[in-house]
Symmetry: C2
């Protein structure tokens, strides 16, 4: 907040191109510094830390922001270049996020299993001392370690690929000169505001199609008993398809929240509300993914009934976490739109400018 007058002053004369270049330069710089560090981290033995190592985390953060900017303010960039860059960034994101994702999922599922089967006299779980718990734990651990190792191998291969080198070259170009269109010469407010507003319109439209009323009623039971509609084209309704269809709209809103959040960063506005929604939807996603892992593990041939029973409880527990995240979202969401409406009414010249980037100092 202390540098708001300065950024407001800077913004009054800044062009859209100035603002976007400044952001992209900063993020591409993070990318280029984090890349060798991330390669080194992946090259080392895979750790078991829940948090991804520093280089990978920085790289993921930069990749998400650059991709978000190229999407939201796409009309300002050379189309083909922006489209190709987004495709390559998405490829790297999927590649890099996989292994830390499995590490987090393992921590989540084994933590849940340990809590559910805990035997501490002052707070045991509903599976306290169950014979199937150690077996289910070993099974989940084995399957997730295998998935993590596979992800590690594929990321190791790709980190030496020509594709990654080409992407690094793209990022180097971004530091020196982003391929902007003529439109970027316009005043920041006039050019960026409508594009940022479109990101919020898309978010609001998608969020309003969520079952927000049900989501803000605790214990609606919908996460277990009455999932969202399954597209009729799918034919036979099975649990996997039903759960995926139920989770999909929340996943879409999560992407839109991220885009809106990065757009706010470009506009130098506080993002606390969106940060919180992003965090809640991140939990939603991770619990939903963990539930799938538990359900899949339960289909392993030749497991004991006790193991399968425990996995059923773990699956339901993670779907309950999904419901809890939807409840948290449903309670927060209605407070958000007024704040965003207000944001759009602020005159463009006021409070505009590049966001403070302490990481770059």
């Amino acid at each position: 907040m202390t540098d708001a007058p300065m950024t407001a002053q800077a913004a009054s004369t800044a062009t859209a191109g100035d603002i976007l270049s400044s952001h992209l330069t900063a993020q591409a710089g993070v990318f280029l510094r984090a890349l060798p560090q991330a390669v080194g981290e992946v090259g080392a033995r895979p750790g078991t830390a829940v948090v991804p190592p520093v280089g990978t985390a920085d790289l993921l953060r930069a990749v998400r922001r650059i991709g978000g900017l190229l999407h939201t303010f796409g009309a300002t960039f050379e189309q083909t270049w922006a489209q190709e860059s987004r495709t390559e960034l998405r490829w790297l994101l999927n590649l890099l996020a996989l292994e830390p994702g499995y590490v987090r999922r393992s921590a989540r599922l084994l933590g849940a299993l340990d809590a559910l089967s805990g035997t501490e006299a002052d707070g045991p779980g509903m599976l306290a001392g169950h014979a199937g718990a150690p077996k289910a734990r070993a099974l989940l651990d084995r399957q997730l370690t295998l998935a993590r190792t596979r992800a590690h191998t594929s990321v190791l291969q790709e980190l030496r690929s020509a594709r990654l080198h080409a992407l690094a070259d793209r990022m180097t170009l971004l530091v020196s000169e982003a391929p902007l269109l003529e439109a970027a010469d316009g005043r920041a407010g006039a050019v960026l505001l409508p594009q940022a507003a479109a990101a919020f319109t898309a978010l609001t439209a998608s969020a309003q199609q969520l079952p927000l009323q049900r989501a803000s009623t605790p214990y609606g039971g919908d996460g277990l008993r009455r999932l969202g509609s399954v597209p009729p084209a799918r034919g036979v309704v099975d649990a996997d398809a039903a759960l995926a269809a139920d989770d999909a709209p929340w996943g879409r809103v999560r992407i839109l929240v991220k885009r809106a959040r990065y757009a706010l960063e470009v506009c130098g506005r506080p993002t606390a509300e969106l940060d919180e929604l992003d965090e809640v939807l991140g939990r939603h996603q991770e619990a939903a993914d963990a539930a799938v892992t538990a359900a899949t593990a339960a289909r392993t041939p030749r497991i004991t009934p006790a193991t399968a029973y425990v996995l059923g409880v773990v699956h339901a527990d993670q779907r309950l976490e999904v419901e809890a995240a939807r409840y948290a979202f449903g309670r927060r969401w209605p407070e958000l739109p007024p704040g965003l409406d207000g944001w759009l009414e602020i005159p463009p010249a006021e409070g505009w400018g590049p966001s403070p980037a302490p990481r770059m100092a």
Copy 2:
């Protein structure tokens, strides 16, 4: 409310004995009329209706009220007689409630299973189309039908027993003349009020020891992951002991809510708040019992892993219902005590008298 002035007038001169006798006469009358009807119903083939048949339901209602009155206003009755009567009424209650209880539990569990495994495209469950669902359903159905048949056989035997005839004789005595002590000659307010107040004090004390703060926070996860303390004397903590210890204080509060409710009825006061709490705790009890049934079924030898997995989900689903009931209770409870405090401040002569008993008209 229309006959409030009349009862207030009547109460100003009524003795405690008048009030209690009027209630006991009414309830004993219900008992004696419902008994042959209930015997006839039990003698017929066991039905599958969720609601117990009329005679049995009436009988259970009268048994609960008479037992509650003899407990709460026990100081007004001949001690040995009241104690023996309560023991016999509790015996009949346990006997009669068993079979309808299994019918309700069956409806609850099979209903939950059907919702969880439903494949309707507009709202499938998380077990939609799961191969284990029909097997788990058949297993639960078979085990509950067996339990119900056993309960039916034992109630059939006991309904012809000398013990039941002796209890009916006790109830006949109650219609003509309840064995009251001298204390019952005192004014209704002076004698009954402190005893009713003691019932509320016991309820408040027990309810305040519940984890009400956690219970009014949705998705605290306590119903699955962090149960209440298990008495250390039990030694090894297993899931059954942990769940039973977690549910026990709620079961005690349920009994105390019923007693307070029946005490209010004697005092001619509205019971809507307590009716609602009683209903919520009834759901708590039934979900907890259903969860035990699912967990027990999962220990059946030679079931398939798919069956066990589905039973794990059903178990967690019922524990979630337990949590939902605690949440409902936790939200309602804090509003209650002020109403009860106010009740105790009303002068005894005002608003006292036998409750309107339309069933007796």
